[in-house]
């Protein structure tokens, strides 16, 4: 008699990793009617999570309905992922390495001509867009198409006033820098996020600030942003680096609420559905 143990058929994959195991929460979603297209990796923004950025916003169901197999990950210190103590676990380069491992464990394969379901499509939002840009640029063999939502060519986290934030958290001293104050408010409001982990991420990002020109992705690229997104300074900068990129601006939306927009999802699904 055949017996299987446990509720879930798939056994957990264990790896020996260098440094701290970041304990990232990965969730995969099977479509009901799979299309012959590669998996889609979703990378959420700062102080967000799979649940907030992708599930509750309707992205997962929209992608599944389009027949896409979805791989989503909570960044370190976010959502259901662990919050390692060492700053290295939060560095963009380390996260990119983890993403590659995660995508490969979840079944993504390098692009192979004649196999339309090979490769990996990547959708990032905000900070996730920066990671997606770099991931695409550094992993041309596996990343097939890229969608960047609410991106910018410079990193707002790089200008984050870490000292002011720490002082604010310690004794409530008001934060002068408006951008820093805004990010701290957002982080505090974010359910499940570990405030000190988020500050570690900021610290790590400051050590590896975003330089879009350093590595430019060669994949087909879609850039989407809300018309009122105050962070999309230099969207033109990214467009300038990839003139072939398609740009969609969602009327009336800002950085927070562009993520749910139908027009965003439709544009992305259509763009990622192209061969």
């Amino acid at each position: 008699m055949e017996m299987t143990t446990g509720r879930h058929a798939g056994a957990a994959v264990h790896h020996t990793v260098e440094g701290t195991d970041p304990g990232l929460n990965v969730q995969t979603y099977e479509p009901e009617h799979p299309a012959a297209l590669p998996p889609v990796l979703l990378i959420h923004g700062f102080a967000s999570s799979i649940a907030l950025n992708w599930e509750q916003s309707g992205w997962i169901s929209a992608l599944r309905e389009a027949g896409r197999y979805v791989i989503a990950v909570d960044l370190p210190g976010h959502g259901l992922s662990s919050a390692p103590e060492d700053v290295d676990s939060y560095s963009p380069s380390r996260i990119r390495a983890d993403l590659l491992q995660i995508a490969s464990d979840a079944g993504a394969r390098p692009i192979e001509p004649g196999h339309p379901d090979s490769g990996l499509d990547v959708v990032g939002y905000s900070l996730g867009s920066r990671l997606a840009w770099e991931f695409g640029a550094t992993q041309p063999a596996i990343v097939r198409r890229l969608v960047l939502g609410g991106p910018s060519s410079r990193d707002p986290l790089a200008e984050f006033d870490l000292v002011a934030a720490q002082r604010f958290l310690a004794d409530g001293t008001p934060i002068e820098d408006a951008s820093t104050a805004g990010l701290v408010t957002m982080a505090q409001a974010s359910p499940g996020s570990d405030m000190y982990a988020l500050l570690s991420l900021v610290e790590a990002v400051k050590e590896e600030p975003f330089d879009a020109a350093e590595a430019v992705p060669k994949q087909p690229l879609l850039i989407v942003a809300g018309e009122k997104d105050e962070r999309v300074e230099g969207l033109e900068g990214l467009h300038g680096l990839v003139p072939s990129a398609k740009v969609v601006v969602i009327p009336g939306r800002n950085h927070v609420n562009a993520v749910t927009a139908r027009a965003f999802k439709q544009a992305a699904i259509e763009f990622l559905g192209e061969g």
Binding site: M1, E2, M3, T4, A9, S48, L52, Q56, S57, G58, S61, A189, S190, P191, G252, R253, V256, N257, A258, V259, T260, A261, R262
Partner: protein, 109 residues
Amino acid sequence: MAELPFPLPDLGEGLIEATVLEWLVAEGDQVERNQPLVEVETTKSALELPSPQSGKVLKLYGAPGEVIKVGEPLIVFEVADDTAGIVGTVPSEDAPKRRVRLNANLDED
């Protein structure tokens, strides 16, 4: 047929209201359970609300940009009488799934 109002649900974390961003259904539409109804934005995030049930949309409350408080009417459905008003959910009839196989030697019978 019965009318079934669906108020803005408690979105958790002490949120008391939400702003309508965009309706994804229109009055008169037939919707299925879990179909996205509306995009709303709270002070913390933007999200899509899935339909709590299937039925015909009779009335929508709140134009884009308007604020609705938790518990205030958001949408009114017209539903068949045999699904309205219950506590709990109508179970779905999925095809039977198994992982256990039977294995027996019935020869000795």
